[in-house]
């Protein structure tokens, strides 16, 4: 037995993406998690906070405290970090369109705690470009969004040197269907779009520009094909090193290092036999830890039950324990890079690098990442890739255990019990958040608020850095909605291309589509006109993959599809269904606000005299809620368990037949 103590590398930062209900409840959760050995915080904000609405805004209805914590003003931010010393904390905030605002609140709270903002450490995601492609929490058009991103970067580089001002995300691109090559190309093209904008802003002297480059970090996804994913990470490192040197002339090799955090893949997590997600998550974690030279700086793992609903604290603890076992029990951190010199790995890395270079050049030719987002090019490419993936699952070419093979299963004890294995947010959360907000507004000095907002607007119009007046707004008691509204008035609001207008034959089809198409056509003939399906995404949730794929599949099955993108109000959906003569409305909701939104849409349809249009829903809908919705007249509930879209479409035809007095089974 040797006595010498083996050298171990320091483990990565371990976080859990969390936040729900209220600032106070989330604060309790954070303190518990830190007590259990978590080493950093990762704040999840609710959708109104992410899209710039106060909790009492009509669009916030049903969304408050659902997918994260609601932060309306400095009082909420204070409560969120109560008894958490900010100078010792490393806080990651998943915030984009309103990132300057949430950072301003964080700085103002630090001041209150007596902490020098210079010492703050953490990350603002601050990557709006990917929001136009996936996730959908953008507010302003791309031009002004890039400007806000740039302002935050230049401010922190000068005033909060240890802050990571932006996390360029390839994570969400993979969730939207990106192949590894696309992930590499689009993330790196986004990074250069941002860096180019920073350089062009003239806010940073040329000799300090490499400090900016050194602060850019990435947020990456790791899927189940973990060998390829490992190679992807190595390709990222190589390409970033090359790009920062050639495009930005960065001499210091440390500042060319590809620094990244990870959340492993949620797209591949299944609702069927959800316990299998545990091994998926662990294998995916290997992809971003195996090679020392391309290892993640920070990792957060999803919970095993994400496809079922909101995870409970215990589920999150389990995810944290997976990291701890890998970092502390195994010998992984005792070795140098395990994969250096492997010809197999090198070949794959080279292949990915070459593919990414080609796609990066294509984007360059098309005018850069911003132009490619505005024209819909990137979005269409992603929708196409995702369609290909889903077709591969349908045809069985891609195996998913428990989903398209080995479906027989014993009853899982994990999902038994009263709460069915998920967290339910208390319905009174929204009401108490709103009353607290009203009280806060009543108590502050309106004069001070007005002055701060005038200064904010002035900066937005003149091009001065947005951060200093935002910090003043935070101190003055401005709310999230007020801050965002000022900027909405200056910059306008934006609707991104939906990308569903891809051409046909993106992928080989399963044979079922032919009979489905015939049935769609026959039913259309029986009803006198082609079948029309309105796909609606109500509420603030911008996860549009499902809606997009149903749109593409529906079109290919012969439906006339009306799909107008994300963030529609119940009134807009009802109105469109009526004007367009829809035979069926299909809703897609993943934020947990389905009960409220479906009720509101029923009400609107009733009000305008269109109550006879049948309604179905797809999304993350817990079983108990599904029953509730059906009892109120909803015709069908589709969840991630329903992977075969031909079957979903077929069921929709049956519902249309039934609603119109035709023989349902025919």
């Amino acid at each position: 037995m040797e006595e010498k103590k083996t050298h171990r590398d320091r483990p990565w930062l371990m976080r859990t993406y969390s936040g729900h209900s209220s600032a106070r409840a989330s604060n309790e959760l954070y303190r518990t998690n830190l007590g259990r050995g978590q080493t950093g915080l990762s704040v999840a904000f609710d959708l109104p906070t992410q899209t710039g609405y106060d909790s009492d805004h009509p669009l916030a209805r049903g969304e408050v405290g659902k997918v994260g914590v609601p932060i309306d003003h400095i009082g909420d931010m204070e409560a969120l970090f109560h008894q958490i010393p900010l100078e010792q904390m490393n806080t990651s905030m998943t915030i984009n369109a309103t990132a300057p605002w949430l950072l301003a609140l964080y700085i103002a709270v630090a001041e209150q705690q007596g902490v020098d903002p210079k010492s703050l450490q953490g990350t603002t995601q601050n990557d709006v470009l990917k929001e136009y492609l996936s996730r959908g929490t953008y507010i302003f058009p791309p031009g002004p969004s890039v400007r806000l991103t740039t302002d935050l970067i230049t401010y922190t580089v000068q005033h909060i040197p240890k802050w990571n001002p932006t996390n360029i995300c390839s994570y969400h691109l993979q969730e939207a269907g990106a192949t590894p090559t696309q992930e590499l190309a689009y993330a790196l093209s986004s990074a250069s779009a941002i860096l180019d904008a920073v350089r062009a802003s003239g806010q940073i002297p040329a000799d300090r520009f490499q400090d900016v480059v050194g602060r850019i970090s990435f947020f990456v996804n790791a899927g189940i094909r973990f060998v390829e994913e490992t190679c992807k990470m190595r390709a990222f490192c190589a390409l970033w090193d090359e790009l920062t040197r050639s495009r930005y002339g960065v001499q210091d090799s440390k500042k060319r290092r590809f620094r990244y955090g990870v959340q492993v893949n949620s797209l591949g997590l299944t609702e069927s036999q959800p316990e299998n997600n545990v091994q998926r998550i662990v294998l995916e974690m290997l992809a971003v830890t195996l090679s020392k030279n391309a290892r993640a700086r920070a990792i957060q793992l999803p919970a095993w039950n994400e496809a079922l609903g909101l995870p409970r604290p215990w589920d999150q603890q389990w995810a944290l324990r997976m990291q701890q076992v890998l970092a502390l029990e195994t010998d992984l951190l005792e070795y140098g890079d395990l994969l250096d010199g492997s010809p197999v790995i090198q070949t794959k890395v080279d292949e990915l690098v070459a593919g990414a270079r080609k796609e990066i050049a294509e984007i360059e030719v098309r005018g850069g990442m911003v132009a490619c987002i505005e024209s819909g090019y990137v979005k269409r490419e992603l929708v196409q890739s995702h369609t290909r993936r889903l077709r591969a699952i349908e045809t069985g070419e891609l195996s998913i255990v428990g989903v398209n093979c080995f479906r027989e299963s014993a009853q899982s004890p994990l999902t038994a019990g009263d709460e069915s294995g998920i967290l339910t947010v208390d319905a009174t959360v929204e009401q108490s958040q709103v009353s607290a907000l009203l009280a806060f507004r009543a108590e502050r000095s309106q004069q001070r608020v007005d002055n701060a907002l005038i200064a904010l607007r002035g900066a937005a119009e003149s091009g001065l850095n947005i951060m200093p007046p935002s910090i003043d707004c935070a101190r003055a008691g401005v709310t999230t909605g007020e801050w965002s509204d000022q900027l909405r008035q200056v910059f306008g609001e934006y609707r991104a291309p939906t990308g569903v207008d891809i051409s046909k034959a993106a992928a080989p089809e399963a044979s079922e589509i032919a009979s489905l198409r015939a049935r769609v056509q026959r039913t259309g003939e029986e009803l006198g006109r082609p079948l029309r399906l309105l796909i609606g995404k109500p509420g603030l949730d911008g996860h549009s993959n499902g809606a997009e794929q149903i749109a593409v599949k529906g079109r290919d099955a012969g439906f006339e599809i009306v799909y107008e993108g994300i963030r529609l109000t119940p009134a807009q959906i009802a109105r469109a269904a009526q004007e367009e003569g829809a035979h069926l409305i299909g809703l897609s909701i993943l934020s947990g606000s389905h009960l409220e939104l479906v009720e509101a849409i029923h009400h609107e349809l009733d009000r305008i005299g269109a109550a006879d249009v049948p309604l179905v829903i797809g999304g993350i809908i817990p079983q108990a809620d599904a029953e509730k919705l059906k009892s109120k007249g909803l015709k069908a509930v589709f969840t991630p368990k329903d992977v075969d879209m031909n079957v979903i479409m077929d069921q929709m035809v049956t519902i249309i037949r039934e609603a119109n007095g035709l023989q349902p089974a025919a």
Binding site: D501, Q521, R529, G558, G565, Q578, V613, G661
Partner: protein, 323 residues
């Protein structure tokens, strides 16, 4: 919508003239319905509407141009100008359909940019359903219907080269939107492929020099073509995203309407459109032979022009004659 129709056609017509949204939606579904019983009801409805004494003397406006030129954003901006001028607007937006499945993706961003929650705007999407010219057969009957309820009926359609013709035959005023920097439309205009529209628009004037160049090229392409016309085709520039030039465009459209009324061309123009639509349908169903059997294209058209009957009545009568 789905239940057997219980409402009388009289009631439906009356509600449409009052711009009742549910009735409009129901009637558009009816016009789309190919079953015999529906067709009979549709015929009755159009007759009531076309012969109604108090019908609005509205304006049928067509907007066409190549894909990606910004037609939807431009239409949305125009609709907002019209709404500010207190005009009610009905829109028919035509999108291409898939030749394989017959399916189509419709709508997209127009409704949200244009209407919001405004009851003064009603938007119906249509797929081209494989018809020549990119317009489905339902466009004209639906335009006639909407025309009974709205001050302005806007028909938006994708048009490339030859395909732009159809829309210009079914509108009072046709606006063609050109893309700066692409010579295609200018070439087809010069070559006489593209029927001269009433208004030419160069959108994306924010692109600067190339937009100005496109404007002057279009202007010069028009010279010589307008010698004997009493309407001088204007070439306008707009930026739909920045909202520039939209009021001028609305003014030009109104001016053309005024011109048609003043010259007493409007009623004739509508009969012309109706005749065109009927001849197209007959040709589709019976081929050239059918047209010949009705006395040939010239005779048929002039017969249709002078007739005062309603759309489906004329169409059905001619079908009977062929058969």
């Amino acid at each position: 919508m789905s239940q057997p129709e219980t409402m009388t056609i009289d009631t439906l017509a009356r509600l449409i003239l009052q711009r009742d949204r549910a009735a409009l939606a129901r009637a558009l579904n009816l016009l789309d319905d190919r079953r015999a019983a529906a067709r009979a009801r549709a015929k009755e409805l159009l007759e009531l509407l076309q012969l109604a004494p108090n019908r609005v003397s509205g304006h049928l406006v067509g907007i066409t141009g190549p894909p990606g030129v910004g037609k939807s954003t431009l239409s949305a901006a125009l609709i907002q100008v019209w709404r500010r001028r207190n005009q009610h607007v009905g829109v028919l937006a035509v999108d291409p359909s898939s030749p394989v499945s017959g399916g189509a993706l419709l709508g997209d961003r127009l409704r949200l940019q244009a209407a919001g929650d405004d009851d003064g705007v009603f938007i119906r999407s249509l797929s081209s359903r494989g018809h020549y010219g990119g317009l489905s057969a339902e466009v004209w009957p639906m335009a006639v219907l909407m025309h009974s309820a709205f001050d302005i009926v806007l028909i938006e359609t994708v048009g490339v080269g030859q395909r732009e013709i159809d829309i210009s035959r079914l509108c009072d005023t046709t606006c063609f939107v050109a893309q700066p920097g692409s010579g295609d439309s200018i070439q087809s205009l010069k070559a006489g492929i593209l029927e001269v529209p009433h208004i030419l628009v160069v959108n994306k004037s924010d692109m600067g020099d190339i937009a100005v160049r496109a404007q002057s090229e279009l202007e010069s392409a028009l010279v010589g073509d307008q010698s004997n016309a009493r309407w001088a085709v204007p070439v306008l520039t707009t930026s739909a995203t920045l909202g520039e030039g939209i009021s001028d465009l609305a003014d030009s459209i109104e001016k053309h309407h005024f011109f048609l009324s003043k010259e007493q061309l409007l009623a004739a123009r509508r009969r012309e459109c109706q005749a065109y639509w009927i001849v197209c349908r007959l040709r589709e169903e019976f081929g050239e032979q059918g047209i010949e059997r009705l006395g040939g294209h010239a005779k048929l058209t002039s017969e249709l022009r002078s007739s005062q009957s309603s759309l489906f009545e004329q169409h059905d009568a001619l079908r009977q004659r062929v058969m």
